[in-house]
Amino acid sequence: MPIMNDTIQFNVGEHRLALEKALKLTPQDIVMEIREAGLKGRGGAGFPTGTKWLLALSAVAEKKFVICNADEGEPGTFKDRVLLDEYTNLVIDGMTIGGYAIQATEGIIYLRGEYKYLLNKLERFLDEKRENNQLGNNILGTGFNFDIKIRLGSGAYVCGEETALIESLEGHRGEARNRPPFPVNTGFMGYPTIVNNVETFASAAIIISKGADWFKKIGISKSYGTKLVSISGDCKKPGVYEVPFGISIRDLLKMVEADEAKAVQVGGASGQCVPESQFDRKISFEDLSTGGSVMIFNKSRDMLHILKNFMEFFVEESCGQCSPCRIGNKKLLEGIELIEQGKCSYTYLNELIELGKSMQLASKCGLGQSSPNPFISILTNFENEVFSTK
């Protein structure tokens, strides 16, 4: 069973009263508290949660929705699973607080298809919350109505992108929408919707429970609080850790006893590959941003092989809608195959890196905008290794 290692903020008992406390505040107060705490989205993109909630609160509509993005699909990320499994109450309360804050009445958990085994447990938990009057009509006697249902994803990586997720919830192909309009205006079924990561909701509950000032004491400027990271790869103690923002790669490696590390992929397949020379860089929104994935590679690993694995993933997982992502990823993968065969000239490699940059700029959604990241960072940072052996 997954277990979270040393915790800083996620102490269940301590936050039991978060919901009760929240419902005594006004929605505006909650949004201000979240803004004050400087909470940023924990899913990877790092959009300020308070701003998102404020926009949704100020949108005028007959209905609003809260969606919990539990489609944890980024390779190497498995921290939301732990939250849903072991800290369910915090997540559900966070969603309810979010619902109250934007004055929504319905919440939806978009649960990753592979996490189906959690479904029954979650449903039982929601029933319990309803029995305890912490969900449903007139929550805790405050007159606030809010309920949550669970929908299962079907395994598409792109459905972790919030607008593709909404399309999928509406029964369409999982493809990103144009923005603007943003979901806070025009989201699920056209209604204002907030889509937040599992960890974001849990963090929001913690902020309401302990206050913004307490929260801001942890982390570094612009990146407050803690981050859950799921560490995997070549280390002795892989697992899910709660770390303060600002921790360096070097300290992370020490923590999980990775002695032979040559490279660390931060932020999953779509993240950055950090070489040893840059191990002093920090996990934070301003430097190395991650939705939680940290993958460690030791000196025995073939970086080109790792890159190929990532690019095969993107060729398969691109939704196929926009041309830069659909065809571009394939061209990058073919470039890797040329390198493998020793047939890729430097000129063509540079052309592909330029193509990658265009994909970052011109793709429709975050998938295509970040899929060239490993290509560019591995071939830039490990150029010598890649070309010396081929």
Binding site: N178, S318, G320, P324
Partner: protein
């Protein structure tokens, strides 16, 4: 009254519309800076619209004026100051002050990369492609000076060409996945035959379970062809077989030309939309070698006689005889796309359709009977070609029930585009030709038959005749222009009061003749849903055309199409009608002649039933 929505676009893909100040909105204009030029635009205008209004060119591929926004080809990306990524100009609504660059280095490079990627996946060469010279991908390649394949070029076919349909051929190796066809089929026409399947690099546009187009519920309207930027979709071209027939001295090859191709074929020869080429076209067809050139408007007039009589019969049976089996409103049946639509989508409502064949099929039946007899030609030696604005006509002439002459009534349906190609191949520059008239005995037609080409035209033509039959007087509209029938609103409704009726039609005295007009099957669907809900009980007659704009926007018409182009084509038709001497179907002397000589028991009589009326197939949505 059924309200016509402004847009069928899913909410998520609609541009943000901000109310004007006078409608209670906040300040309605916003200033943007495009390439250093300060420009005032209405709030909610997309960057693309703003640029077009100011003559700043932005390349597009997936964008189409008729369709909801997709923003997926990314060729229109522009740079907005302060934004990390480039934004698609076609979908980005301007709501605040923006500084936009449309030709910065980043923009040009990204566009070129996208173009190179698309070309790497695009099979074949331009010179062996029927869209050579009229291909949006080719134009882009020229615009960006492409002189090679930077990221390679596929040399092997990956898909087989689907030639199953009589009407539409799909070649997915030419597809650039702009999804215009998907949006046309789902959003514009609400038929929903095409959709993207698979994911990522394997994405392709496909049908239900990848079945051949002929086996799914395609209505053959061809609107997808009109909006395809490349050669992935085309009509099933019979021109080779027509050349063979022309070259065969034993064959008597006749052609009938529908009203709308003559209003649009000039576009294929570089003329701006809205130039009628009726007379020049006749000359060209003779030069090509057709033995006789007839006017489909003749059978359009005949359709009015038959369909108008059928309507009056239905009214009489229902109102006077109280026959409740009679179905009203009566729907027109001249649009084969609409006929197949109702057969698939509302198979239990086929009794509402007029039993009249379309003008094309009436013509075919008459040529191989009446014309053959009068001219002593063996019907088996006659080849009838129909020049139509339409891809569904190809399917229609192949329907097994269309053999009332004992032969295949119409041998080939030819689109405007294919005709233009035959004319080009014959070395003729259409606009240069001297004009000539149609051949007798079907040469003269009325303006009523002519206006069949635009949405509302059949209704207007029918009213001109029905009103006069019932009252003995001309329909009370200035210049016979029944304006409520005209225009491009999706669903229109109006009525004409029948007063001072002739004794025979006394039961209609004081009755408001209520009619509706719908064009595009999405609008037809609205009408049908209202019918199913029982809301159309006081409506008598409904015209439906499968294509937006009616025949002038048909699936066989020149590419491109847009609301503006369709408007121009319609104007050309209405102008031509205004200048004609005979503008009412029942006054066409040849119509009188044929009822005297051949269809001797009159409209809806025994002979006409055999030759000019048909029955329909309950198709439903079952796909084998």
């Amino acid at each position: 009254m059924i309200k016509d929505k402004l847009s069928r676009t899913p909410v998520s893909q609609q541009p943000l519309i901000v109310k004007k100040e006078e409608e209670g909105g906040i300040g309605s204009f916003v200033e943007v800076e495009i390439n250093g030029r300060k420009i005032q635009v209405q709030m909610g205008t997309t960057i693309l619209e703003a640029c077009r209004q100011n003559n700043i060119h932005i390349p597009t591929l997936c964008y189409h004026e008729d369709l909801c926004l997709a923003g997926l080809c990314r060729i229109c990306v522009v740079e907005i100051e302060g934004m990390r990524t480039l934004q698609a100009a076609c979908t980005y609504p301007i709501t605040n002050k923006l500084k936009i660059q449309t030709t910065s280095e980043k923009v040009r490079k990204a566009r070129r990369h996208i173009l190179d990627l698309l070309l790497s996946e695009h099979y074949g060469e331009c010179y062996s492609c029927h869209r050579n010279g009229n291909c949006e991908l080719q134009s882009l390649a020229k615009e960006y000076g492409v002189d090679g394949y930077k990221f390679g070029h596929i040399t092997e076919r990956r898909h087989t060409v689907d030639r199953s349909s009589y009407s539409v051929i799909r070649d997915m190796d030419k597809c650039v996945l702009c999804k215009r066809c998907v949006r046309t089929c789902i959003d514009l026409q609400e038929v929903g035959v095409l959709e993207a399947t698979h994911r990522g690099y394997d994405t392709t546009i496909s049908t239900f379970y990848d079945k051949p187009l002929a086996d799914v519920i395609c209505i053959n309207c061809g609107q997808c062809i009109n909006r395809c930027p490349t050669a992935a979709l085309k009509a099933n071209d019979p021109s080779d077989e027509i050349w063979v027939a022309i070259d065969n001295p034993k064959k008597h090859v006749v052609i009938q030309t529908a009203p709308s191709p003559r209003a649009s074929i000039g576009e294929e020869f570089g003329l701006p939309p809205g130039h009628s080429m009726t007379k020049q076209l006749n000359t060209a067809l003779r030069w090509i070698g057709f033995d006789k050139v007839f006017d489909t408007n003749f059978t359009a007039d005949l359709t009015i006689m038959e369909e108008g009589t059928e309507l009056l019969n239905r009214l009489k049976k229902k109102l006077v005889e109280g026959d409740n089996n009679i179905k009203l409103p009566q729907f027109t049946s001249c649009s084969p796309g609409w006929v197949k639509y109702i057969e698939h989508f509302y198979p239990d409502y086929l009794d509402y359709l007029s039993t009249c064949k379309s003008p094309q099929q009436m013509f075919g039946a008459l040529i191989k009977t009446f014309y053959a007899q009068e001219n002593n030609i063996a019907p088996e030696d006659i080849v009838t070609v129909a020049l139509m604005p339409c891809s569904a006509k190809k399917f229609e002439c192949n329907r097994p029930e269309m053999h009332s002459s004992g032969f295949k009534d119409v041998d080939y349906g030819l689109t405007t585009r294919e005709m233009a190609q035959m004319i080009r191949e014959a070395g003729i520059n259409l606009p240069d030709l001297e004009g000539s008239g149609f051949d007798d005995p079907f040469g003269d037609a009325s303006g009523a038959g002519l206006i069949f080409g635009a949405t509302g035209g059949v209704m207007e033509a029918a009213l001109r005749t029905v009103y006069e039959i019932v009252t003995g007087r001309e329909v009370p509209f200035k210049n016979l222009e029944i304006t409520p029938c005209r225009g491009f609103e999706g669903v229109r409704q109006a009525s004409v009061k029948l007063e001072g009726t002739l004794p025979e039609w006394n039961f209609l005295e004081g009755v408001d003749l209520n009619f509706m007009i719908a064009h595009g099957t999405a609008n037809a669907k609205k009408v049908m849903e209202a019918l199913v809900r029982g809301e159309l009980e006081n409506i008598h007659f409904i015209e439906v055309m499968a294509c937006p704009g009616g025949c002038i926007g048909g699936g066989g018409q020149p590419i491109p199409t847009s609301p503006e182009i369709r408007k121009k084509r319609a104007e050309a038709i209405y102008n031509e009608d205004r200048g004609l001497e005979v503008r009412k179907s029942h006054q066409n002397p040849h119509i009188k002649y044929i009822y005297e000589k051949f269809l001797i028991d009159g409209p809806c009589g025994h002979i006409s039933h055999k030759l000019l009326h048909t029955h329909y197939v309950k198709r439903g949505k079952f796909i084998a």
